[in-house]
């Protein structure tokens, strides 16, 4: 019988001096997560797609060759030579998919990371200190949140067009940390009510220590879950923007740029192999991210039993 989180059950009264280590909440969450089949499948898929994308150059040909237009093999159907066929410029869809994944995923991961950092920083500071600091930070967050996101990204990306994906990352990150900051703040406010915060202060922890050692680990699960969902959103944002022509420059392969080809009905109807793979990969990726997110949420939820 395995130890249950039920408070009364698993107290190990150890008479000998052997040291048995306890299970941290993280370890418990990990165990719960590992048992969640959809979440694990999602994670495996996500890791797989990330891995093959990140190592695209070792798996297939170098980027320059992938980008090479080949007029003699345009829009070829999938075959043994071209796993997913070729696009209208004669480029191997499969190879582009890998490189596209590299850019799309890097973008999504980086943006998510930036958002998480900014959002956490702002949210935690505002929530912990309260008062004037909170007021100022939250007004600023409101300000950011008021911008119609898509509209502003479009405007900004037409200002900074061509200056690479770095700018896109900065632009999107700066525009979208507001929600997370609010969430973190409210979580911190709630956690602050818990007596352990008072207890930390009363044993002489500095505010910095209270935030980093006591509050953040407790809101971390929320942040992680939220970041996972954000990751999915960011993939949609990248693909959507690129689809509209306001995202990553079309000279770089990304899933969104690949999908853009489907705007031509000819491709949409007759050359399914050009757009179905990116569409499917996008959908599957988001699906698996959502599964992972759901799994994490479940794993972190002390009430859930799995």
């Amino acid at each position: 019988m395995e130890p249950v989180t039920n408070n009364e059950s698993s107290v190990v009264v150890n008479k000998q001096n052997t040291v048995t280590k306890g299970q941290s909440p993280w370890a418990i969450a990990r165990r719960k997560f590992v048992r969640n089949i959809p979440a694990m499948l999602g994670l495996v898929f996500l890791l797989f797609i990330t891995f093959v994308s990140m190592f695209a150059q070792y798996i297939t040909v170098p980027l320059e060759d992938v980008q090479k237009v080949n007029l003699s093999q345009m829009a070829k159907e999938p075959s043994s030579e071209f796993l997913f066929g070729t696009d209208k410029a004669g480029r191997d869809v499969f190879q582009r998919l890998l490189y596209g994944g590299k850019v799309s995923l890097t973008l999504a991961f980086t943006i998510t990371f930036c958002i998480s950092v900014i959002g956490t920083l702002v949210g935690a500071t505002a929530g912990f200190f309260g008062g004037r600091i909170d007021n100022i930070l939250m007004r600023f967050t409101d300000f950011i949140l008021t911008f119609p996101f898509l509209i502003f990204v479009i405007v900004l990306s037409s200002i900074f067009q061509g200056s690479g994906i770095m700018t896109l990352i900065v632009v999107i990150s700066l525009l979208s940390w507001g929600g997370l900051a609010r969430l973190v703040r409210s979580k911190i406010l709630a956690e602050k009510e818990n007596e352990y915060t008072l207890s930390a202060i009363s044993i002489g922890c500095s505010p910095f220590k209270v935030i980093t050692k006591h509050l953040l680990p407790n809101v971390m699960s929320t942040i992680i879950v939220q970041a996972t969902l954000l990751l999915a959103v960011m993939i949609v944002v990248e693909t959507g923007l690129s689809f509209l022509g306001f995202g990553v420059s079309s000279s770089t392969p990304t899933w969104g740029n690949m999908l853009q080809e489907a705007r031509s009905p000819d491709v949409l109807s007759k050359k399914w192999w050009i757009w179905i793979p990116p569409a499917a990969v996008i959908t599957l990726t988001i699906l698996s991210i959502n599964f992972v997110g759901e799994g994490l949420k479940d794993a972190f939820n002390p009430k859930s039993s799995r």
């Binding site: 019988m1 249950v4 039920n6 009364e8 059950s9 107290v11």
Partner: protein, 341 residues
């Protein structure tokens, strides 16, 4: 106050060998494990025991309110007016709930629906079981509020739960429970969340209502003081089983079960000075760690012998009206040095 009204009428409610289980990881574990007792008309029965000993589960079993996902009555009968409540369908038991048996819960703060007015929530009980019109029901609910000691009931009917204090909410809960003048009121720790002075008010109210309505009351609590004050008969539970059952006076002045004795010694008394309170070592075993055979208290019992772990004691009458479930008093296992008083 406790006029020991041992009325000799037929029991209103009779529980026979009730076993209620919860599914944990695919297996059922009994949180209530073979409980039998009966409630006579106008009797106030107290049920005491530590947290987790199955008091609430038992009361929920009677009301058919066990969580559907993982809880069910495994065995036993709950006889009420010649019907076995344990076997009734949802629809049928719905007609009993709130009408013949009322119930109030521990948490007055969360037991009322925050988005409906007080009036609505009382009327609902009335409309469920009577043919009153809405208007009549409203008037009745105002009367009910008044009867549970709420001043300005005309105003309170239209207020929302969050506008009331804990004590007032518990009064509202009582009003709901007695709306249809039930035969039995089950009160699951009705005052645990309240302050002593408010507790005193509520207990006073309960007594009054019990008398006026001629109800039987099943009062669940872990506060021995409340039991002493309110009850005619007391049932002490431990880990899903009844360990001792007797009238209130006997229990407090002549407790038999070691658990009961320890429990009594653990509470500081107002008028006595003790340097050290008695303690019970260890904790209640959790459902899944429950020993299969033997006395469930054996692990913590200072008087336990080896047999206690192998022989399951039965609840048996030791002296008239005093049932104990302990090998110490079981005549079929006489031992040396057993002090039977």
């Amino acid at each position: 106050m406790t006029k020991l009204k041992h009325s000799n009428g037929a029991p209103v409610l009779e529980i026979k060998d009730l076993k209620t289980g919860f599914r944990i990881g695919g297996k059922y574990y009994n949180a209530v494990d073979g409980v039998s007792f009966s409630v006579k008309p106008k009797q106030v029965i107290g049920i005491v025991g530590e947290s987790g000993c199955g008091k609430s589960v038992m009361s929920l079993s009677i009301m058919g309110l066990l969580p559907k996902e993982n809880g069910k009555i495994v065995n036993g009968e709950i006889l009420f007016q010649e019907r076995d409540l344990a076997k009734l369908k949802d629809k049928e038991i719905n007609k009993v709930r709130g009408k013949d048996i009322g119930m109030i819960f521990q948490e007055p703060m969360t037991s009322l629906n925050p988005v409906f007015t007080i009036g609505f929530q009382i009327q609902e009980a009335l409309l469920n079981h009577t043919d009153l019109t809405k208007k009549e029901a409203r008037l009745k609910s105002i009367a009910l509020l008044k009867s549970v000691g709420i001043s300005r009931p005309e105003k309170i009917v239209d207020e929302y739960p969050h506008q009331l204090s804990g004590g007032m909410r518990q009064r509202v809960m009582i009003a709901i429970a007695i709306a249809c003048q039930p035969k039995i009121l089950i009160a699951d720790e009705p005052t645990t969340a309240l302050d002593v002075t408010v507790q005193a008010q509520i207990l006073e109210l309960l007594k009054e209502i019990q008398e006026v309505n001629d109800m039987s009351v099943l009062l669940i609590t872990h506060d021995l003081g409340v039991v002493a004050e309110m009850c005619d008969e007391v049932i002490v539970m431990y880990a899903g089983r009844i360990v001792e059952k007797t009238d209130v006076d006997t229990l407090f002045h002549d407790p038999k079960h070691p658990y009961t004795k320890l429990l009594m010694g653990a509470i500081p008394k107002m008028d006595e000075e003790v340097e050290e309170l008695s303690t019970i070592k260890g904790i209640v075993p959790s459902l899944i760690n429950m020993p299969e055979v033997g006395c469930r208290f054996a692990d913590r019992c200072p008087q336990a012998t080896a047999e206690c772990k192998t022989i399951t004691p039965q609840l048996a009458e030791v002296t008239p009206g005093h049932d104990v479930s302990c090998l110490l008093y079981d005549v079929s296992y006489p031992r040396e040095g057993v002090k039977v008083n």
